[in-house]
Amino acid sequence: MEAVCELRDICKRFPAVLANDHISLSVNKQEVFAIVGENGAGKTTLMNIIYGLYQPDSGQILVRGKEERISGPAHAIALGIGMVHQHFMLVPVFTVAENVVLGMEPTKAGGILDLDRAKKEVADFSKKYGLQIDPDARVQHISVGMQQRVEIIKALFRGAEILILDEPTAVLTPLETEELFETIRALISQGKTVIFISHKLKEVLAIADRIAVLRGGKVSGLVDAKDADEALLARMMVGRDVVFEYTKSPAKIGEIALEAKNLVAKNDRGLEAVKNISFQLRQGEIIGIAGVEGNGQTELVEVLTGMRSQEKGEIYLAGQSFTKSAVNALRHAGMAHIPQDRQRTGLVLPFNVAENLVLGMQRQSPFAKGRAQNRAEIDNFAIQKIQEFDIRPQATWVQAKSLSGGNQQKVIVAREIATQPKVMIASQPTRGLDVGATEFVHNQLLAERDSGKAILLFSLELDEIMSLSDRIMVMYGGEIVAEFQGGQVTREEIGLYMLGWKKDQAIPGEPRPHAQA
């Protein structure tokens, strides 16, 4: 078997983490080579090295047997390596043909754009590879699956022999995924090679010839797809010790603080993303909701915090019913929310730290006196929180946008805890934070739990869920498919549910009677 691309001892270190630790892999011609691993396992870093976006610290890359130093995407394209990113890079108002030829437009004499030739070339390409597409359609009017097809044609048009697909199914519906697989098979039959990056094991097993598993920057396994099953891959993927052990006091469970009954909600594309979810969250406990990204967690958080209206179902906060989106009413009733996107949702970046620390409390005493703001009180409060949470730089007047990610998150955590909530919904509270900041946020959440608050923790990091939660629920395909007591389940077990491999059919949608400690 001929190796088209070979990696030898690739190492890449970032300031806080060794992203790739002596990775050696060899990709054969005309195969689908899958790379799986958790978030942060080093998959994307590795692909960016192959595509020339990063330079490795050490190690070699061989393309068709010849060692290459890939200096950038243009060099990679010249070597026949194409990449389709998770987030598409298309011009929405341009047509398919215009997008495909962008940057290498065919011209007539005098440098005039030859759009007819562009259309014809795109049509030829789509015929050759069986990629059905209308060259005249505007990208903004076609589906996400079609847009991905445009990205693939774009790469092929630039002469790609090796095609890297980074999490290609993350944005697709099941049907679109099936169509993508058809496309991949067609490409292979035409002599192309595909590197397929994913953390969805079922899909990887369906399409790949060989599968490499990354864990913590190292290759933890390399198997033929026909010899593998999801259980094996899951063990190789997540089978490692918990990084942080928190000393947790036994949970002092109290009254029901938050209850969801048969919640149904749609996502922005109008598809049902939350399907009949029910649970009860009690005072003094942390429920961790595990799941692979895009299984309805975002929509569930938005419904629970009042930012999205549910189609059906009820929310009870401290016994009071909330059926429509009402952020303010929920906040007043004792709901705090650490959002998953701190810059887009959690902060007003041009506001200073003091102004951000009272966001959502701006109408409350002592920050408001009637309709006027009490700036002295806002500043005092900010100084107190900056010291208590060690927010740096130590200044109330610095704009939030100039803070580091960790300090931005501290501002949000400090503020949400200061609302003295009954229920705290924390959505990926440590996303993108370094080790120290992560530990800080975790300790804050545990302290809140110990003081009798009810916490619902959404996270993509299984370690985080495992080490903090008193109860763990797994979300898959918009449903809660399993529930465990914390500390009584293995990572492998949760992993299998996360990937939709196992499903508790006994408990669809009904409030679970939970065995209490």
Binding site: M307, V327, G346, A368, A372, I383
Partner: protein, 423 residues
């Protein structure tokens, strides 16, 4: 805690609008030179025209006060994230509302003028609210809806109301300059404090106004500058007010003859008051905090439980009311009726004032003062020996706006010396 420092970067942020104005003046100079005239002489004439006599200054002040209102209108709407191109339409609606109450309602002055202000603010506020409502309920972009509403207002008022139901019953053979609505009653006219000496009651009102202003200044100055608090604070404020008012009273009651023909009126004080009020609204009230939060980050405002739609509607109403007051000043302060040919354009100039003033109330004030001066003085430039058309003021204003839109480039250039220094 770290102390706040005034950095080079802060300085640059303040410098950018000034550099843009300077560049605009340079463009103006080049154009005058191209036209074969002496640019230095022309600018000299411009400023002499603006400051040469009291009535020249008065004309500049008149223009400034209207520009402040329309500029604040655009600037306030921008703070909530809306681009209010419709200031012109709201300005026209405010003007015609003033003409209506001014002629068709009879009241003593101290009721008539407040009623005009209130009525014009409501009508022009509602006019702006149409665009706000289309935005929040139907997602219609405010740039489109406000532009179209400008034309609706224009044709509604100037091609129907003013020549139809509200037209003055002119004797036959009248010229176009006499067309328009009938004159407003004297009780509706804004006081021209240089030319018109008030009667005894008017003088008492003036004294009360002076006393109120002095009291507020004294109170806040003492509160900020000293450690005096509580009853002592009130006591010292009242003493200061009494002394200053007593001295003023001597001058006010001896006030005999005015200088005729100076059209400057108390509108400028309303405009300055509006600047202070909008500043406090934006930076000292909960509403202003919420408005700015929405303008900067809609999603975060929603997350914080702020009622985004309600705040957008309210801000749009206030923006419309501000433009409308500009129209009131035009009708009650300068024209005394809604004339057949309305001196419009102030609404569009308001966009320029907001851009040059960087949407800050005091920035808008300064920009309006500058362009009030340029507009006031440009009349003088038309006279020999320069004979430069008065639209020249528009050229300077236009080029300054162009440079402002290159904000980041100019900022980058100004930051260069510091960057080199670091290397």
């Amino acid at each position: 805690m770290l102390k706040r420092k005034f950095t080079y970067e802060n300085l640059v942020d303040l410098m950018v609008p000034l550099v843009c104005i300077l560049l605009g003046f340079i463009v103006g100079m080049i154009l005058i030179a191209v036209a074969g005239k002496n640019p230095f002489g022309a600018y000299f004439a411009l400023f002499q025209g603006a400051f040469g006599s009291l009535s020249n200054i008065s004309e500049a002040v008149l223009k400034t006060s209207v520009l402040i209102f329309t500029g604040l209108s655009v600037g306030l709407a921008y703070r909530v994230g809306l681009f209010n191109i419709g200031a012109e339409g709201q300005f026209i609606i405010g003007g015609v509302s003033a003409a209506f109450i001014g002629h068709w309602v009879r009241l003593p002055a101290f009721l008539h003028i407040p009623l005009i202000f209130l009525f014009a603010m409501i009508t022009s506020g509602i006019w702006a609210l149409i665009a706000g409502w289309l935005k929040v309920s139907r997602g219609v972009h405010e740039v489109i809806s406000t532009i179209m509403l400008n034309w609706v207002a224009y044709y509604l008022v100037e091609n129907w109301l003013v020549v139809g139901p509200m037209a003055v019953q002119a004797p036959s053979g009248s010229t176009i300059s006499e067309a328009g609505t009938p004159m407003i009653y004297p009780t509706a006219k804004l006081w021209r404090f240089v030319s018109d000496v008030p009667d005894l009651i008017g003088k008492i009102f003036v004294l009360i106004a002076i006393a109120l202003v002095i009291f507020f200044i004294a109170y806040y100055a003492l509160k900020r500058g000293t450690k005096i608090r509580g009853k002592a604070l009130w006591f010292f404020s009242v003493i200061t007010t009494a002394v200053v008012s007593a001295v003023s009273a001597v001058f006010v009651f001896q006030w005999q003859g005015g200088i005729p023909g100076v059209r400057m009126n108390i509108g400028i004080f309303f405009a300055i008051a509006a600047v202070v009020i909008i500043y406090f609204l934006l930076f000292r009230t909960v509403l202003g905090y919420e408005i700015r939060a929405i303008g900067f980050n809609n999603q975060a405002a929603k997350y914080a439980g702020i009622n985004v739609k309600r705040n957008i509607l309210l801000t749009m109403f206030l923006a419309g009311a501000l433009s409308g007051l500009g129209g009131v000043l035009m009708v009650c302060g300068t024209e005394f009726r809604f004339p057949g040919v309305f001196p419009g354009g102030y609404g569009f100039d308001g966009i320029a004032m907001a851009l040059i003033g960087q949407n800050s109330p005091f920035g808008i004030l300064l920009a309006s003062v500058l362009f009030g001066i340029i507009r006031g003085g440009s009349t003088a430039m038309q006279l020999p020996p320069y004979k430069i058309h008065k639209t020249f003021a528009d050229i300077i204003q236009g080029s300054v706006v162009l440079f402002i839109s290159a904000y980041y480039i100019i900022r980058y250039v100004l930051m260069l010396p510091r960057k080199r220094g670091e290397m």
